[in-house]
């Protein structure tokens, strides 16, 4: 058991933690940093419920080791809203009923936000393929897609 001390930045804050090298970044975020918004749905990178941004790149935190976070910049669902101001995506998901049980919702929001920052005007097909790694079992995806397309339109208006 050779635990390591890691220093990283999460949602703009500098944090330190100790972890076993076998712990995933998802384990660390949840169990050591108290950020339980990212969820473990599969542990194999197939469901996207653990989606985070790592140095500006959308990744599954279950496919990154905690020790790999050293010196990196991490953004999780907890950092999407700005204070009490929800992100347009968050508003639209609620407005369009783009969630039922809500377990996939944090991952969907992080992933959709990453797309819209890269491509502000995706087609429905582009959006569906981008979100192929975010499984939802409740909604059949319909209302999620509508919500994100509406959020994209709203963000383009403001831009």
């Amino acid at each position: 058991m050779s635990k390591q001390v890691i220093t990283t930045t999460v949602n703009g804050d500098s944090v330190d933690f100790v972890c076993d090298p076998r712990e995933s970044l998802l384990d660390v975020l949840r169990d050591r940093l108290g950020l339980t918004g990212s969820k473990e749905g599969c542990g194999t990178g197939d469901c996207g419920a653990c989606s985070i941004m790592l140095d500006g790149r959308l990744v599954c935190s279950c496919l990154v080791l905690g020790v790999e976070a050293e010196g990196k910049t991490i953004e999780t669902i907890e950092g999407v809203a700005t204070g009490t101001q929800l992100h347009v995506l968050q508003d639209k998901i609620i407005e369009h009923a783009g969630l039922q049980c809500g377990i996939c919702t944090p991952g969907i929001i992080v992933a959709a936000k990453a797309l819209l920052e890269k491509n502000p005007d995706p087609t429905e097909t582009e959006l569906r393929y981008w979100l192929a790694g975010n499984l939802c079992r409740c909604t059949g995806y319909d209302k999620i897609i509508r919500a994100v397309m509406d959020a994209a339109a709203e963000l383009r208006k403001v831009a």
Binding site: D20, E23, D27, R30, D31, L35, T36, G37, S38, K39, E40, G41, C42, G43, T44, D46, C47, A49, T76, I77, E78, V80, A81, L86, L89, Q90, I93, I94, E95, H96, A97, L99, Q100, C101, G102, I103, C104, T105, P106, I109, T125, L127, R128, Y129, L131, A132, G133, N134, L135, C136, R137, C138, T139, G140, Y141, D142, K143, I144, I145, R146
Partner: protein
């Protein structure tokens, strides 16, 4: 209020689409699900599982595991009660093996340690001495001559002599005399259909945190569809008094029927009791797929007789479901459901429950039914095509309506099947021309919907806001629907009502969130609880005015004199009455408890267009339309959500999902990589048409919708693929290798 007045009544809140109250928590990651809670001193659990499909457990040596630093305790079946009987015995036997491992993944021991990694490593150090036994996982093999017999004591008295000993139940229903009916037919078609086991695929694995203290009291936090049921069962399995165990339901990340029972909760409690520490136990995905409660695999034989003009003269169905190594396959369900949409004089439906070396099956929305409908609705459609009759017309011709005596026994009150068929026929989808390699499928479905034991409380606050307390976990937005119904009855804004799902110590009994019952039964109780509070509010106003309580009525959110004779008093609002309630008689609460009857059956018609690549057998769903009678859609967004969710689960079940067992009886696809649920890019938008034929049994006309939505899609998609390929699809899933083989076989045989 009389129903005919209800129909034309304009609702103020019902039928609108306000934001759900747990929305912000869920989009910000703040909502707490099963694995999101922590307690100081908490241990982590891990489970040791059998790698054999069927084996005697000769010995369990835990010494190496116990020696690992950080391991605090280990439990086996010995830690559980020994006097458990009936259904609970089956649950216990499934939760942890006793002398026999019954399926690949069956739990045999559990460990609690100071970290999840240590628990996982310790699990590998437990040495179990197995003696493998012959196993059987396929349903057809399970009732063939040389199949190993799983457990003779599970056979129910309704199974006749001479039946294979892996058949545990025989159910029968019907009417008339099918011999006569088939004698009247111009066309008879009979086929066998097969479906494979599937998993409900909820994204949240089972998770719980248990804490049992030396005084024998226990607290359990868990992701569940029914925490009252969890309390009762866990207490029994641990030999505790129910009242000593308090269960709190977390937010739930999907269940679809499989979280109406327990798997790891009794284990966590046993570990906690033995270790005298809180224990958190979370399943990984592989454990979920391997060792929770998938839906049955099935083998159905359906035979229908029709006149040339499309009138069904007789129907016969034999529905075989395997429930794993337990007598729990719900074979009465397809027998009752498959021909429920039709007015038939002669029908005989048989259900057989079969055991195999697989995990104990659990409900997947409507338990047992979609597999049977996969068979029956394909026979109907195939015969329609053969007779040259439009598939919707044929169903309209035979459709059940008010007054029809269903094949399953009851006589229907007002139902909306015909309305859904007519809406489907009129929908632009149905008349859109199809392109090459595309096929269209239709299917109808029925589900009983249930009432169930329900308790609801509401309480006024001094500021006039309302706390509504329910006991049914919110899977899909039900708190919003309850708040809407309370708002409608009290005539106060939706935003003034806050709904909480209470723990088992804080409210009367509630059956599970299951059976499509919540909007109906919990809604009904909500309405009645609010009516009870209104009665009290009127009494307080009467007191203030010095008139009889019967002379006061509730109108638009105010207590008003019920007529000119009662007196001329200014209306009193709920806020005004609540502000002084403590001095006018005390706090004002409402409460209602019942096991209501009157849940109205639900009917739906599904339309789907599929394109099949003739060179690879790959199917793409091009268009999907769901038409459903919801009775009254309290919150239309969440009704649509059930329609779309059920349809897409059905698409996955129809096209790519299946349990793949090897010859060794082990499950080969235990992760989402090879257990293939639909992804966003696989699907089009799912169009929804909500029909409202009010249910006479509910004040607002509500019918359940969650289960009806999964009944038609398997057959609808199969009918579409069959139309696109010219090959009747009798096996699920319609994966590309299977479909391509069918296409090639047809090509070579001409």
């Amino acid at each position: 209020m009389a129903l005919d007045q209800e129909k034309t009544k304009q609702f103020k809140y019902i039928g609108t689409r306000p934001k759900r109250q747990d929305g912000v928590d869920k989009v910000t990651g703040q909502a707490k699900y099963g694995a999101d809670t922590y307690q100081s001193g908490m241990l982590h659990g891990a489970i040791v599982r059998s790698p054999h499909a069927h084996a005697k457990i000769l010995s369990i040596d835990t010494s190496k595991a116990e020696a690992l630093e950080g391991v605090k305790t280990i439990v086996t079946r010995a830690e559980f009660a020994t006097d458990v009987t009936g259904d609970n015995w089956n649950i216990l036997e499934n939760v942890m093996a006793d002398k026999t491992a019954l399926y690949d993944g069956h739990a045999v021991a559990a460990i609690a340690a100071t970290s999840a990694l240590i628990a996982r490593d310790a699990a590998k150090l437990v040495v179990v001495n197995y003696e493998p036994l012959p196993h059987v996982t396929d349903i057809v093999d399970a009732i063939s001559e040389d199949a190993p017999i799983i457990r003779e004591s599970s056979i129910e008295p309704n199974v006749p002599e001479g039946y294979h000993k892996n058949i545990t139940r025989r159910y029968e229903c019907g009417k008339g005399d099918v011999k006569v009916g088939f004698g009247e037919a111009d066309l008879i078609l009979e086929r066998d259909f097969f479906t494979e086991g599937v998993h409900q695929g909820y994204i949240e694995p089972h998770a719980c945190l248990a804490h049992v203290t030396p005084d024998g009291k226990g607290e359990l936090w868990c992701s569940t569809q029914g925490h009252f049921n969890v309390q009762r069962v866990c207490a029994d399995l641990l030999g505790m008094e129910s009242s000593q165990l308090k269960v709190t339901a977390s937010e739930i990340g999907g269940g679809f029927g499989a979280k109406t029972t327990v798997f790891i909760e009794p284990v966590a409690l046993a570990l906690s009791r033995k270790a005298n520490r809180p224990v958190k136990l979370v399943m990984n995905r592989s454990e979920v797929i391997r060792a929770t409660g998938p839906a049955s695999s099935s083998w159905s034989t359906v035979k229908v007789g029709m006149k040339k003009n499309g009138t069904i003269t007789a129907a016969h169905g034999t529905y075989r479901l395997q429930g794993g190594a337990f007598p729990s396959a719900p074979s009465e369900s397809p027998a009752q459901v498959t021909f429920a949409p039709y007015d038939i004089e002669h029908a005989e439906m048989i259900g057989l429950s079969i055991m195999t070396n697989r995990p104990k099956q659990a409900a997947y929305r409507a338990p047992g039914a979609p597999m049977g409908v996969f068979a029956s609705e394909q026979i109907i459609e195939e015969m329609a095509h053969e007779l040259g009759i439009d598939p919707i017309e044929l169903r309209l011709k035979n459709a059940a309506k008010e007054g029809t005596k269903g094949v399953h026994g009851p006589t229907y009150q007002r139902i909306g099947l015909i309305e859904t068929l007519e809406a489907a026929k009129a929908h632009p989808h149905y008349s859109t021309p199809l392109k090459e390699n595309q096929g269209r499928g239709v299917a109808v479905g029925f589900w009983f919907n249930f009432g169930g034991a329900t308790s609801v409380s509401m309480a006024l606050s001094l500021d006039g806001s309302v706390a509504l307390t329910v006991g049914t976990p919110d899977i899909g937005g039900s708190r919003a629907s309850m708040a809407l119904m309370a708002a409608e009855v009290l005539c106060i804004p939706y935003e003034d009502i806050r709904v909480t799902v209470a723990d088992t110590g804080s409210l009367g009994h509630n059956d599970d969130t299951a059976g499509s019952r919540v909007t109906f039964a919990v809604g009904l109780a909500t309405i009645e609880a609010c009516n009870a509070a209104i009665k009290e509010l009127c009494k307080r106003a009467a007191g203030e005015w010095g008139i009889e309580p019967e002379a006061v009525k509730w109108e638009e959110g105010f207590a008003v004199p019920s007529g000119a004779n009662a007196g001329d008093f200014a209306p009193l609002s709920l806020k005004e009455l609540a502000a002084k309630m403590n001095t006018t008689g005390g706090p004002i609460n409402g409460h209602f408890a019942s096991s209501p009857s009157g849940a109205g059956p639900g009917f739906a018609t599904h339309l789907v267009d599929v394109e099949v690549d003739p060179e690879t057998g790959k199917s793409t769903v091009i268009r999907y339309t769901v038409v459903l009678d919801a009775g009254k859609a309290i919150h239309p967004d969440y009704v649509e959500g059930q329609m779309q969710g059920g349809a897409v689960q059905g698409i996955g079940w129809a096209l790519n999902e299946e349990y793949v067992y090897g010859k060794d009886g082990r499950l080969q696809n235990t992760i989402f990589l090879d257990y293939r649920v639909p992804v966003a890019s696989d699907l089009p938008m799912i169009d929804c048409v909500i029909i409202e034929v009010p249910n006479p049994g509910h004040p607002f006309g509500v019918r359940g919708v969650g289960e009806t939505s999964i009944i038609p899609p398997l057959a609808a998609v199969a009918n579409a693929v069959s139309a696109a390929t010219g090959v009747r699809q009798t096996r699920l899933p319609m994966s590309p290798p299977r479909v391509l083989k069918g296409i090639k076989d047809k090509q070579s045989h001409g």
